[in-house]
């Protein structure tokens, strides 16, 4: 009996001690981590959306932890302990089959894009292997008053009727759009700068102040393509053909081929809403990029658009972008 006590009892006692030391005690301490500045609890509908996210296992493909590594800068600033105060169950995840979503609300704020993407990711990202969540949508003959149907490209739309989001999808959207990192207090921010949309290098695009300085470096095609693919192609597509009904083509677009680049520059700086493009009225707005990209980067993107897919727009310079920025919205 004594041997049994020593082996089974002794080892269990040792293990119990370690479990308290390595499991319970860190749990107790870390559970009390206070919320970081600007980190807020979710609203009711966002919390509902988070439950949809959990139930459908989004975090088996998506992490929500930005590491202090240079390759993670595209996903935002490094996660801080205070970011997780309201996150139970935790959704840090262990695999990145898809991109990190910590800051996706800032990166991809368009509800229309998010809905199309959830309905069928391949409608906007042809190479995507993310599952379709079409069951979170209803197909109806006519959208009820006040509800905008999801503008799906023909190949992905149901044969009859229009697609409207169910409560699940609405909640999930609210949650996704709520995923925005709170900026760190300035002292910390200097050490770990926030990088919202992606600059070509993957380093955060330091906003205008820095960018205006070396104004005038020449157009760099490779950089332009990379910037376009990181910031614009989700909607306008790598082919420049856009998504019918949802996002206009830039191939052959009037503003892009216009010798006067004002409209083109201002669209990228300040976004665009309720404007008929190529005879089509688009329901969703084009987001603004002025606060996220430098004049140099914007000039690069614009020149890339003006020289691709058969477009022949006159190239622009960073100075021209700076001038439009100076005029204000």
């Amino acid at each position: 009996m004594n041997k049994l006590l020593l082996i089974a009892g002794g080892s269990t006692l040792v293990y119990g001690g370690i479990a308290i030391l390595m499991g319970v005690l860190p749990g107790i301490t870390l559970s009390q981590t206070p919320a970081g500045p600007g980190v807020k609890p979710l609203t009711a509908i966002e919390a509902e959306g988070r439950a949809v996210y959990v139930a459908n296992g989004c975090s088996y493909c998506h992490t929500q932890q930005v590491r202090p590594l240079s390759q993670d800068k595209v996903f935002g600033r490094p996660s801080a302990p205070g970011d997780f105060a309201y996150q139970t169950p935790e959704l840090l995840g262990s695999e990145r089959t898809g991109p990190d979503l910590t800051n996706v609300g800032a990166r991809q704020p368009s509800p229309v894009w998010q809905y199309i993407h959830l309905y069928n990711p391949r409608a906007v990202v042809p190479a995507s292997i993310m599952p379709s969540f079409s069951w979170m949508f209803d197909v109806v003959d006519k959208a009820p008053a006040g509800v905008t149907p999801v503008p799906l490209p023909k190949a992905y739309a149901p044969a009859h009727g229009v697609v409207v989001p169910k409560r699940e999808a609405q909640a999930l959207l609210a949650y996704l759009l709520s995923l925005k990192q709170a900026p760190l207090p300035t002292a910390q921010a200097a050490a770990a700068p926030s990088g919202q949309p992606m600059a070509a290098t993957g380093k955060p695009a330091h906003a205008p102040a820095v960018a205006a300085a070396p104004a005038g470096s020449a157009y760099d095609a490779a950089k332009g393509e990379q910037l376009f693919s990181a910031n614009c192609s989700a909607c306008h597509q790598a082919t420049g053909e856009g998504v019918p009904e949802a996002f206009p083509p830039l191939k052959g677009n009037a503003a892009v081929n216009d010798a006067d680049p004002t409209q083109h520059i201002r669209t990228v700086l300040y976004g665009l809403e309720n404007v008929v493009v190529g005879g089509v009225k688009y329901e969703s707005p084009m987001p603004e990029f002025g606060s996220m990209l430098s004049d140099d980067d914007i000039a690069n993107i614009i020149d890339y658009e003006r020289s691709s897919w058969g477009n022949h727009g006159k190239p622009v310079t960073a100075q021209q972008v700076a001038a439009e920025r100076a005029k204000g919205k």
Partner: protein, 494 residues
């Protein structure tokens, strides 16, 4: 510690050469005229062992079928769309069914058999063994249904089941611990053979892990992250590992008909594993906002884990020294050898992966998926197969055929090679794509061919499980083949 353990003491080791003819477990079914009470006990044990094995086979087939569906979805993401078949619900069903259906049930069945035979006693309670089996199955069925309906406790690796279901699993563990310890307590041997240290320890420690994982009070936000690190690591390494190692310590000497190379080394590995392993869970969250010291401690002890891992594997390999030729006609031995190598390579890989410089590339990629299959499949699953093939025939006196064994062994081996190698290469490429700061979608595109190869490997693995099912059938209810060469060889040697 009584270093010589069961080897030279009064307690006969499970396969002490000179004694095996008289009292070795393999002979018990066959020896002359056991009393009818003893025969009844033997039959009851054989039934328990068979039932656990058969249930585990059903779970293996189910879990790996789900695995195949998941693998297919990487190439055809629109296949099986709809809530019940969506990737994010099937993924935890696959892992939990593998863990708590297949591996847990199979290993507990083996642990019971080993406890009874190595302690030269009878099961403390056959009824408890059956109750445990029902509870294990109930938990796994309820967990599967809950996850498929979207009732998930959170995407917390290996503890997604809602807590009431995890309580059922805990009850199953409790029943098993009680029964196992009580069985060892009524041993007729003086010493407790090393195998039982590992199996009893595994069950008892896992009760603690399960309790730590269920209690909610210290699991908010980052606190829960640290508990997740602790749990996901310990649920593997303090549950499957000790049970599989305990099985090695029994089945290897038995198959080879010679004692374990060094009993003392086994004891040493037991205690070092116990102390080092539980400390390293945080290495699943390197570069996360978890305190840096916690991560660094985890890395340091991940290196320390080389001590029990190398010690344990060396012990098994040295036990086999000079006898590798027998692999040619002994599939059970071959399965166990793969299991031992899987243990060695998988665990060493775990240590290497824990370094920050390598984690910076491999973390969050498919390399990790390769690693988890190297350990759960290459090590644990092969170990279980070896154990079942070595011991189930001894319990039931029925044997699988060589062809069935070959049809199981080779596709499983080749399939898992393809699986692990393709994901290791693909994962590395994926990680390097990120380091080079290419657009994210590039890493998705670059993984495609490796996802296909993973599917090929996975299909071979899946097919081999049908051969396993057939073999188990022959070892239990079906028509037995002639006794395996291996047992005959052991007798000659004796």
């Amino acid at each position: 510690m009584h270093v010589s353990g069961g080897i030279h003491g009064d307690a006969l080791p499970p396969a002490q050469p000179a004694e095996v003819k008289k009292t070795g477990p393999a002979m018990e079914m066959a020896t002359a005229h056991p009393s009818s009470a003893a025969r009844r006990d033997d039959q009851a044990l054989a039934r328990v062992f068979s039932a656990y094995t058969i249930c585990s086979v059903a779970w293996l087939l189910f879990a790996t079928f789900i695995g195949i569906v998941l693998a297919y979805k990487f190439g055809a993401p629109d296949f099986g769309s709809g809530a019940w078949l969506t990737f994010g619900r099937l993924r935890p069903i696959h892992t939990n069914a593998t863990f708590y259906g297949w591996a847990s049930i199979a290993l507990v069945g083996l642990a019971y058999y080993i406890a009874v035979r190595s302690c030269r006693t009878t099961l403390y309670s056959t009824r408890l063994a059956w109750v445990g089996l029902w509870l294990f199955n109930l938990a796994a069925i309820a967990g599967t249904i809950a996850l498929d309906l979207g009732y998930s406790a959170g995407d917390l690796e290996y503890r997604e089941w809602p807590w009431p279901i995890r309580l059922i699993f805990l009850a199953a563990l409790g029943v098993t611990a009680w029964n196992l310890v009580a069985t060892v307590a009524r041993r007729t041997t003086d010493d407790i053979y090393l195998s039982n240290w590992y199996t009893m320890g595994g069950v008892l420690w896992t009760c603690i892990i399960a309790i730590v994982a269920i209690l909610p009070w210290y699991q908010y936000g980052l606190g829960q992250v640290s508990v997740s690190g602790f749990y996901m690591h310990n649920a593997v390494g303090m549950w499957f590992t000790p049970l599989a190692l305990g099985m090695f310590y029994y089945a290897l000497p038995k198959l080879l008909n010679r004692p374990i190379y060094s009993y003392a080394l086994g004891v040493f590995a037991f205690w070092t594993n116990l102390v080092f392993y539980p400390i390293i869970g945080a290495h699943h969250f390197l570069f996360s906002p978890l305190p840096w010291w916690l991560q660094t401690t985890a890395i340091v002890f991940s290196v320390a884990m080389l001590v029990p891992v190398l010690g344990g594997s060396a012990n098994f390999l040295l036990t086999m020294r000079g006898r590798f030729g027998e692999l040619r006609h002994s599939y059970p031995l071959a399965f166990i050898l793969v299991g031992v190598i899987g243990y060695l390579v998988g665990s060493t890989q775990g240590t290497v992966e824990a370094f920050r410089s390598l984690q910076a590339v491999w973390h969050l990629t498919n390399f990790t998926v390769g690693h988890s299959h190297l350990t759960m499949y290459g090590f644990v699953t092969f170990a279980i197969w070896g154990g079942v093939y070595a011991l189930l025939p001894a319990a039931t006196d029925k044997y699988p055929g060589q062809i069935g064994l070959a049809l199981h062994f080779w596709p499983a081996l080749v399939g898992s090679f393809i699986y692990v190698i393709s994901l290791s290469i693909g994962g590395t490429i994926q990680g390097l794509d990120w380091v080079r700061e290419l657009p994210f979608i590039q890493s998705v595109v670059d993984m495609q061919p490796f996802y296909v190869w993973r599917g090929v490997g996975g299909s071979l693995m899946f097919l081999s499980h049908f051969a396993f099912a057939w073999n188990v059938w022959r070892m239990t209810f079906g028509h037995s083949a002639r006794p395996m060469a291996l047992v005959a060889a052991a007798e000659e040697a004796a």
